[in-house]
């Protein structure tokens, strides 16, 4: 258990939260793929901490650089012909997607984990590396036509 929830419950909350965010903020639907524990290489994305009195996790969204560009453009409601966003604006928008997602997840787990506090999102490039202490659970998803991964970073030694 992490902060009062099983990993499968966290992953379900992440997938359901993403569905809400995609419909409400990105104008698309999501398709859930498989869950596993091997983050793909070559990804970029953003993550954010949810920490409470009973432990915490970090949750994130990752995709290819092109996928991040597409997600940012969807958030901003950009026309297909509009020019590419610069990297800092892609990072800002993907961080905001994760911020909204974290709010949706927090609302879903409120009963089991009422003390959770949200951190601020951070953008990253490259694979999320599991360690002896840190495990990464992954849910492959399609957001509209964009292949992406939902990430849950959590301690291996569960409370």
């Amino acid at each position: 258990m992490i902060a009062g929830l099983a990993i499968s419950d966290w992953m379900a909350a992440l997938e359901q939260g993403l569905d809400e965010v995609a419909g409400g903020a990105l104008g698309c639907t999501t398709i859930a793929g498989g869950r596993h524990e091997t983050p793909a290489p070559g990804m970029a994305g953003a993550y954010l901490s949810l920490v409470g009195s009973n432990g915490g996790v970090q949750l994130g969204v990752a995709s290819s650089p092109g996928g991040c560009q597409a997600l940012a453009r969807a958030l901003l409601g950009m026309e297909p012909g509009a020019g590419a966003l610069p990297p800092e604006e892609v990072a800002d928008a993907v961080c905001e997607i994760v911020n909204i997602l974290a709010g949706a997840v927090k609302a879903r787990v409120r009963e089991q984990a009422p003390s959770l506090q949200m951190g601020l999102p951070t953008f990253f490039h490259g694979p999320v590396q599991p360690t002896e202490k840190l495990a990464v659970s992954v849910s492959d998803v399609k957001i509209g036509g964009v292949a992406a991964a939902l990430l849950l970073l959590h301690p291996r030694h569960r409370v």
Partner: protein, 120 residues
Amino acid sequence: MQILIVDDSKAMRSIVMRAVRQAGFASLNFQEASNGVEALKVVRESPPDLILADWNMPEMTGIDLLKALRAEGNAVKVGFVTSESDPAMRDLAFQSGALFMITKPFSPDSLKAALEPVLS
């Protein structure tokens, strides 16, 4: 009429401005700030008619911004547009003087419903 949008995300400031216009308030002027500290500076230099603030921001959060304004005796109208809004946060926001709290992702209709009584 001036609206100050306070959010640490440039993307979200842009989205809120667009949504306000789409909600039928096309003639408003916008100011921007990326956190509560910047917002306080803007308010002191060019007082807005309404502040739309995020909650979770670096430097100074939205609720701390609202408390700081009220501590200065500033009664500017404030509403929150935030990704999290649990009952305790809502209570704190309204006790501190917020007029409304909209949760992201929001629809143009929910924004319009919140803004109409404030801006009319």
